[in-house]
Every structure is written in structure tokens, then in C-alpha cells.
């Protein structure tokens, strides 16, 4: 990230009282977050921070709690315990302000199917108070290679095309923080590569902070500076991809191998299920 952009961004979101770690204010501070549904604990005492300009990966098997954490960070689910601070502000108290400065995409979201791509994006552009919305939408549609679909109703799009409309929505307000829940899940390899390139480019040029969930370990290893590995609602390991690899596999590796980490954890679950 260019130093000038980084400095400008940091100055924008640092507020008095924001928690500091090693002299750097945290963009995301999640502390002792817990979510339970009757007898099931979806997220158990999870704490982590994300620094400005970082691409952090929130990974783990199905049911690890990744999506629940993202939804709690968006204010869609209330936690049972713990706190979330974004841009140095409490999500409980400053939800509206916080949500204006971030954006997201998730497979749980869809668009009104009868509305065209352009109409859907115009509605969201107005919600985020985007200046010159048509120009911004056109730029994004071109960036994600779907400019030819602008007048098509969403009902006639493939899942990959809908995913890209979701990504366009996520970039409408030039977010300082992006929460991306499996953004490449329905994309073919070429489209997934295009999206990864856009994300990395955005992070480099604008200093956008990204919290990313994915099952594609190759992808996570490639774009994330840091990984938070979750299992059954708790953090199992956190650090750079190589640190997580070494910690979980308990071997002195030279290169990250998150695929192996993932498989090792899944095998543990299978063995436990057999022994029970």
C-alpha cells in the first residue's frame, strides 16, 4: 500500500480511545465473541484484530463459525457475549456510521430477481449515497466484466454472474473495509482469478482492508497476509500462512500448505466421529 494512501486512510478512521497494538490502531477488534443457539455454540470466545490495509483470511471447515462472525460484524446477528469494534467504534452504538464505511458480499444474499442489474445497483448506490452513481456502476460493471448484463433482470443471470453483481455492490461506496464471504464460490477459475486480481489491486492502490472467507485454500494462501483458522467456533491458529501451517501440522515447513492443514482438521473430525 502506498505510504500516502495508508496515512490518509489511517487518519480517517483513528478515533480517540481506539485500541492500539504495537502503535498501530486496529481497524477491526473482535473481543471474546460468543454466539449460541440453544445447545449449539456457533462461535466460542473468539478474539482477533485486523490492521488497516491487511487482507485477512477467516478460514475453517463447514460449521466453523466463519459466516456467523461475518454476520455479527454486519449487525445481522446479535452476539450473546463479547464486543465488536470497527474503525475504533462500537458496532452496538455506531452501527449506521460503521456500515456506511464498509461493504460485503455473501452467498446468503440475493437481489430482487425482477429488477435489472442496473436497477438493483442504483438502489444500493442511493442507500450508500454514491455520487454520480451511473458512472460508478458502469465502471464497476466493466471492471468485473459484466457491463453487457446491465439491462438484464437478475433472474436471468447465472450464479457466477450474480456473484459478480454482488461484488459490484460491495465496491459501490469505495469501502474502507470489505467483508467477503466466499466471494469466488460460484465462479469459474478464470473469473475467480479476475476477482482475486481486482481485490489485490484494490488493496494495493486504495489500502482497502479485506476480511475474506473461503474454502479454497490455494486462493487464501495466495492473497491473504494473515490467516485466522477456525474450528467448531473457536480459533485454532492465527498468523501468516506459514505460521498456521507449522502450528497445525506441527512440522517445520518451508512453504505454507493450508490445504494439508484443512485436510488434517477434517480427518480429526472424522476420527472423532468414528470413535464416538
Amino acid at each position: 500500500m502506498p505510504a500516502a494512501v495508508s496515512k490518509q486512510r489511517a487518519a480517517k478512521w483513528i478515533v480517540p480511545g481506539a485500541p492500539l497494538a504495537y502503535g498501530v490502531a486496529m481497524l477491526v477488534t473482535v473481543e471474546r465473541l460468543t454466539k449460541t443457539y440453544r445447545n449449539f455454540t456457533a462461535v466460542n470466545d473468539v478474539s482477533f484484530v485486523v490492521q488497516a490495509g491487511e487482507i485477512a483470511g477467516l478460514v475453517g471447515p463447514n460449521g466453523a463459525g466463519k459466516t456467523t462472525i461475518i454476520h455479527m460484524m454486519l449487525g445481522l446477528i446479535s452476539p450473546n457475549a463479547g464486543s465488536i469494534r470497527l474503525f475504533g467504534r462500537s458496532l452496538d452504538k455506531d452501527c449506521e456510521h460503521i456500515l456506511q464505511r464498509l461493504n460485503f458480499t455473501t452467498p446468503y444474499m440475493a437481489f430482487p430477481a425482477r429488477l435489472t442489474v442496473l436497477e438493483n445497483l442504483r438502489v444500493f448506490a442511493q442507500i450508500y449515497n454514491v455520487r454520480e452513481p451511473i458512472a460508478k456502476i458502469t465502471e464497476l460493471l466493466e471492471r468485473f466484466g459484466i457491463a453487457h448484463l446491465r439491462k438484464k433482470p437478475v433472474s436471468r443471470l447465472s450464479s457466477g454472474e450474480t456473484t459478480r453483481v454482488g461484488l459490484c455492490k460491495a465496491f459501490l461506496n469505495n469501502p474502507e473495509l470489505l467483508l467477503l464471504d466466499e466471494p469466488t464460490a460460484y465462479l469459474d477459475p478464470q473469473a475467480a482469478l479476475q476477482v482475486r486480481n481486482v481485490l489485490v489491486d484494490l488493496q494495493r492502490t486504495c489500502g482497502t482492508t479485506i476480511l475474506y472467507t473461503s474454502h479454497n485454500m490455494f486462493e487464501v494462501q495466495r492473497i491473504c497476509n494473515r490467516i485466522i483458522f477456525l474450528d467448531r467456533g473457536s480459533i485454532m491458529a492465527a498468523g501468516t500462512p506459514i505460521e498456521v501451517t507449522r502450528k497445525v501440522l506441527q512440522e517445520d515447513r518451508d512453504a505454507p500448505a493450508l490445504d494439508e492443514v484443512f485436510i488434517r482438521i477434517a480427518e480429526r473430525h472424522s476420527n472423532e466421529a468414528v470413535s464416538n
Partner: protein
């Protein structure tokens, strides 16, 4: 509340009206059918001199105003159901849009649609049955206001129920007004109800609106007591509905239902 976000909600529903023929059905088709059926009935009553013209006018006026009440509370709940059916709730409520902005936008859209329904019903009654509601519209306005406020209250409460219990309660969007119709004395005076039902009827703002409407059409006078009673009841119910909605919304959030609504 930010006006541009309320405008975004209006824009979203305006696009939906343009692209979804169901809305035209709701706004035009049903008012036409209702007025046609009741219009023929009043012609039949007039033809044999079976009833005085004042009663016939009251019947048509009641059909128009009940149509307005029904359309308002239904369209408000259906407007919200459309977000749920299209899985758009996550996108909306994870944005800076607040619940109060969303509900305000939805109310404005619903009001516009109800006015179209009212205009269609009134125009057809005037053209085909020579029933002109427009001269008494000014006298009826306070009662219409009370009807709209109660429809809004019910719309808010039903929307809260849908938030919490999802589509399990979606039938309420169409059927709740029907439950209120018998004790609301839409087509008959309060005195014609069985004694046991009268206390229930007396606590419904709709009853006071229709009683007031009948008086206005029959005598041309304005019933201050019916307007005042209706308004007071409305204020109580509206405040309760807001609390109920908040409770249901927070409960839905706590149970993670906003992201899993089906």
C-alpha cells in the same frame, strides 16, 4: 433518518411495481371487481325501491374505504415479504439503511398505491353507478386518516410477526383484515351487532371510522366523537405496534433469522 435512503427504498419498490404485474392486480383489478359486484347489488336494491338512496351510498362508500384499509395493510406486509422472497434482507439490513428508514419508505410507497386503489374505486363508482364520493371526501378525510393509521399499525405488527416467524405467518398479510371485518361494522351500524361483540367493536378504530362515515354520508355532518375515539385508539395501538415490531426484530436478530429467512 436520511431522506436519500428513504428515497432508495421508494425507488426499489417503484421498480418492483413497474416490473411485477401482481402490483397492478392489487391496485386496479381488485378495486374494480369489488366495486362491480357491490355496484350491481346497489342497482338491484335501488331498482325495487327496497332501500333508501342513503343506504346505497353508504354501502358503496364502505366498499371503497374498506378497500383502502385492506389494500394498505396488505401492501405494507407484502412489500416486506417481497424482500424476504427475494432474499434481499441481508443486503438491506447490512447496509447503513435503518429499520425506521426502511419502514418509512415502505409506508410512502404503500400510501401511493392505496391512493391509486382509492382513485380507481371512486372513479368506477362515479362512472358506472353515479355514486360520487368526491363531494363528501373532505368530510370523510379524517375518518380515512384514521383508517390509514390503523392499517399502518396492523401492517407494522404483521411485518414484525413475519420478521420473527418468517413465511410461516405470511398468510396474515392477506387475511388479517378479514378477521377485523365483522366487528368493524363496515356495512351495518354498531347497534346491529350482537351485544357480546359490541365491546370488541368499540375498541377498534375501524368501527369509529365507518360509523363516522355513515353519519357523514347520511346527514352531511361530522362526528367529532367518532373521530376522536378512533384517533385515541390508533395512537395507543400504534405505540404498541412499534414496541412489538422492535421486540420481534431484535428477537429475529438474536436467533440469526435475518440471514436465514425462508
Amino acid at each position: 433518518m436520511k431522506p436519500y435512503r428513504i428515497k432508495a427504498v421508494i425507488r426499489r419498490h417503484a421498480y418492483e411495481v413497474r416490473r411485477n404485474a401482481n402490483h397492478i392486480t392489487y391496485m386496479v383489478y381488485w378495486p374494480l371487481v369489488n366495486i362491480a359486484v357491490w355496484g350491481f347489488f346497489t342497482l338491484y336494491l335501488r331498482h325495487g325501491d327496497r332501500l333508501q338512496p342513503g343506504v346505497v351510498n353508504c354501502l358503496l362508500g364502505a366498499v371503497i374505504l374498506w378497500g383502502l384499509f385492506n389494500a394498505f395493510q396488505r401492501d405494507m406486509a407484502v412489500g416486506f415479504l417481497e424482500e424476504l422472497w427475494s432474499r434481499n434482507l441481508v443486503g438491506l439490513f447490512a447496509s447503513p439503511l435503518t429499520v425506521s428508514e426502511y419502514v418509512t419508505g415502505l409506508i410512502i410507497v404503500t400510501l401511493a398505491k392505496a391512493i391509486v386503489s382509492l382513485a380507481v374505486g371512486s372513479l368506477v363508482a362515479w362512472l358506472f353507478y353515479h355514486y360520487d364520493i368526491f363531494p363528501v371526501l373532505l368530510t370523510l378525510f379524517p375518518f380515512i386518516l384514521n383508517l390509514v393509521l390503523f392499517a399502518l399499525t396492523i401492517g407494522v405488527a404483521v411485518t414484525g410477526l413475519i420478521f420473527r416467524y418468517t413465511t410461516k405467518f405470511q398468510a396474515m398479510a392477506w387475511s388479517f383484515a378479514g378477521l377485523l371485518m365483522p366487528p368493524s361494522c363496515v356495512f351495518y351500524p354498531l347497534s346491529s351487532l350482537p351485544r357480546s361483540l359490541r365491546p370488541i367493536a368499540a375498541i377498534l378504530p375501524t368501527t369509529h371510522s365507518f360509523e363516522g362515515m355513515r353519519k357523514a354520508i347520511e346527514t352531511g355532518g361530522f362526528s367529532t366523537s367518532h373521530f376522536k375515539s378512533g384517533l385515541e385508539l390508533n395512537l395507543i395501538y400504534f405505540i404498541l405496534a412499534i414496541f412489538f415490531f422492535r421486540w420481534m426484530f431484535e428477537s429475529a436478530k438474536s436467533r440469526g433469522l435475518l440471514v436465514k429467512m425462508e
